[in-house]
Amino acid sequence: MALLELRNVSKAFGGLQVIDRLDMHVNEGEIVSVIGPNGAGKTTVFNLITGIFRVDSGEIVFEGEKVSGLSPHKITNHGIARTFQTLRLFLNMTVLENVMAATYGHTRASIVEAMLQLPRSRREERRIKALAEEKLAFFGERLAGYRHDQPAYSLSYANRRRLEIARAMATNARLLLLDEPAAGMNPHETHEITELIGKLRDDAGYSILVIEHDMHVVEGISNRVVALDHGVKIAEGSFDEVATHPLVIEAYLGARAEAEAV
């Protein structure tokens, strides 16, 4: 059974149909890439899945439970966590705090317990500190040791992207939605992030839905590729199938280019 399933999902902003009767799924242990030209509705799909936008019609099902219509923090608690295309870290909190903040959903100590430092609060603090350190350790030296107590704004761009992924991992999600993880990175860093996404699936066991413009990254990591254009799914399959699909080529290059090529 599919881990995440979008059934006939539609979304319009005023008269503009951004997502039109979209069917899509992500299986357990799979990396699915969403590609498409600018304005195709890729990020809107992410916003719909995470509950930032409400679906107009259709439904989104995660692990057999309907999650569309829930508020974002509840959806994340179900096990879907995301990163943002334009980074949205808690810049003035430390690296470790950024990751620890995302454990709110699976901790329970109340404000009174924290005030009086009752056992449960202290136990939970120890647990989530270890959890955050473990998630950060996944990124090797990049986010190790002395960086934990530095404010997030002091990190380099690439490290901020890594920190966003670490923060999403700390929510105890099973499905990660990565919005352009390689955007703005140099070739070396892009290569690293490609390997990292593979490791997230193979070593850490996450299922991943990723939006990416860099076709080398898409080719390197995807089990399956979904191509969108104007909110409609125009192709789905392996990277080679989608990349050579006439509709995809048309969406990226325009119809005339194809006519001339023939």
């Binding site: 966590a81 003035n92 705090e97 609060s121 603090e125 960086r147």
Partner: protein, 504 residues
């Protein structure tokens, strides 16, 4: 050519291996960025030494250093000063601490905060005062008033459930106005509201306020003296600061700060943003309510005029001055905002502050380091020269005296001109000073240094001959404003605040 090559070889061998790695990695990589940040943060000189020393002390030590002097204060002062400088400062700090949770931690602009302060005082007064005839013991009345005020905060928060920023500010400011109008009118008069079951009740005493509020009777212990309330407030403040320190490091504190940084990201990271906003609002309201009960008992009354926008601005000034989101900062902020205007009532204190602010501003505004020194010594020499000439040709110009200035004042008499009749000449000098200040903004470089010397002397002249006479009035406020400007220039994020980065 050959020597150049030799130099290069030396340089390469001189670089330690770990630096070589950094060079290989090149500009723009993580290591370099991290080091740049470290370089930026690392302070040199005295300020760095103080900073590192302060950071080396554990949190409990910080609390002891901050609150220790307050424990000793009652034993070295009299009743009046203990009330003015001690108790009021502590009450302000307690109020500011609650506001700091709302504004500093959660980032909600709450302009109705003072209404909760009033709410606490009135609720306590209704439960325990000669005015209403009920005399509930304080160990019951204080918690009830605190919790009830927290619930009022919850109700207000619920109405503004989705509001943020400017809109929340408007709603809460409206609430404060509504509160003041309500307590002004709820006296059971002809036009007053008739409540279900009980009919017309004198709830708040109207414009005259609630009088004869009981002092605290806590478990049979009667608190009647200023010293008693002082220690009660001190203990409450210390406990609350400790608790907030723990909350700040807990999941709730992190969630508050996260929602201040980026509400949308916080929401998608499992944090129920709306619920936490309400919690912060309630927490702030309850703290204000608790402070209100103390204030009501200390004053043995609650009056509508006490809970107005003026107090709100004072509390905000304390929070911002101390540093948004800093727990210890509110105490320092309260000390300055409450203490400074009182201290400035005496002309000797005001004189020290005046010259202190001038010199401090000089050293902050002028770079490099030798320019302020030149101006300082230049002004001193200029003054003695002018005074010397005046003694020779215009004896009336040095005939005045400085009252109550001590050794410093006697020194000034040999430096600044003090004409026997000051009225006309000081007025003209004031205008000249304003003109000189305008000229100062137009000139650049060394000309500015040259113009500064007579301008500063003129400022001292105006101060000693005109402003110092009105030190308990307008001058005091001008000085206080100047002091705040200087502090906020030195520490833009507040005294204990850490500067925040919005967009990088």
């Amino acid at each position: 050519m050959s020597s150049q090559g030799g130099h290069q070889g030396e340089d390469l061998t001189a670089v330690p291996p770990e630096r070589l790695d950094a060079i290989e990695a090149g500009v723009g990589t993580d290591e370099w960025v991290a080091q740049a940040e470290e370089r930026r943060i690392a302070r040199t000189g005295l300020s760095g030494l103080v900073q590192r020393g302060w950071e080396g002390i554990p949190p409990a030590g910080h609390l002891a250093i901050l609150m220790g002097p307050f424990v000793l204060f009652p034993f070295i002062t009299n009743e009046g000063n203990l009330y003015r400088y001690g108790l009021l400062t502590l009450l302000y700090a307690l109020l500011a601490l609650g506001l700091n949770v709302v504004v500093g931690f959660a980032g909600l602009l709450d302009l109705g905060y003072v209404a909760f302060f009033g709410c606490g005082a009135y609720l306590y007064g209704i439960m325990a005062s000669g005015h209403t005839g009920h005399h509930l013991a304080a160990q019951w009345a204080i918690p009830i008033a605190t919790v009830a005020t927290g619930l009022v905060g919850l109700l207000l928060g619920l109405t503004s459930w989705r509001l943020l920023g400017d809109y929340l500010a408007i709603v809460t400011l409206f609430f404060l106005q509504a509160f003041v109008i309500f307590v002004n009118n709820a006296n059971g008069g002809l036009n007053d509201f008739s409540y279900p079951f009980v009919g017309k009740v004198d709830l708040t005493g109207g414009a005259n306020g609630l009088d004869q509020i009981d002092p605290f009777h806590l478990f049979g212990l009667h608190i009647t003296t200023t010293k008693g309330y002082y220690f009660f407030t001190l203990i409450s403040l210390t406990l609350l600061m400790t608790m907030l320190f723990f909350v700040n490091r807990s999941r709730t504190g992190r969630a508050w700060r996260a929602l201040r940084e980026d509400p949308l990201a916080a929401e998608t990271m499992t944090i129920p943003v709306n619920r936490l906003k309400l919690l912060a609002f309630m927490f702030g309201a309850a703290t204000a309510g608790f402070s209100g009960t103390i204030y009501g008992a200390v004053q043995s009354g609650a009056f509508p005029g006490d809970y107005d926008v003026g107090l709100l601005i004072t509390i905000y000034a304390i929070v911002i001055l101390g540093g948004l989101g800093s727990i210890g900062g509110v105490v320092i902020g309260a000390l300055i905002v409450n203490g400074a205007p009182e201290l400035l009532r005496s002309s000797a204190n005001a004189r020290f502050l005046f010259y202190g602010v001038l010199v401090l501003a000089l050293f902050i505004a002028l770079r490099p380091w030798y320019k302020p020194l030149i101006v300082l010594f230049g002004t001193v020499a200029f003054g003695f020269a002018v005074h010397g000439i005046a003694t020779a040709v215009w004896s009336r110009g040095t005939a005045g005296h400085i009252d109550g200035g001590g050794a410093f004042g006697r020194g000034l008499e040999h430096w600044v001109l003090l004409p026997a009749r000051t009225n006309t000449i000081a007025g003209w000098a004031y205008f000249a000073l304003v003109a000189a200040a305008l000229v100062l903004t137009l000139v650049r470089g060394w000309w500015r240094v040259v113009v500064l010397i007579p301008t500063l002397y003129l400022a001292a002249f105006v101060w000693e001959n005109k402003l110092v006479e009105q030190v308990s009035g307008a001058t005091r406020l001008i000085l206080l404003g100047a002091l705040l400007v200087v502090i906020m220039n030195v520490r833009p994020a507040g005294i204990f605040g850490t500067s925040r980065v919005e967009i990088v």
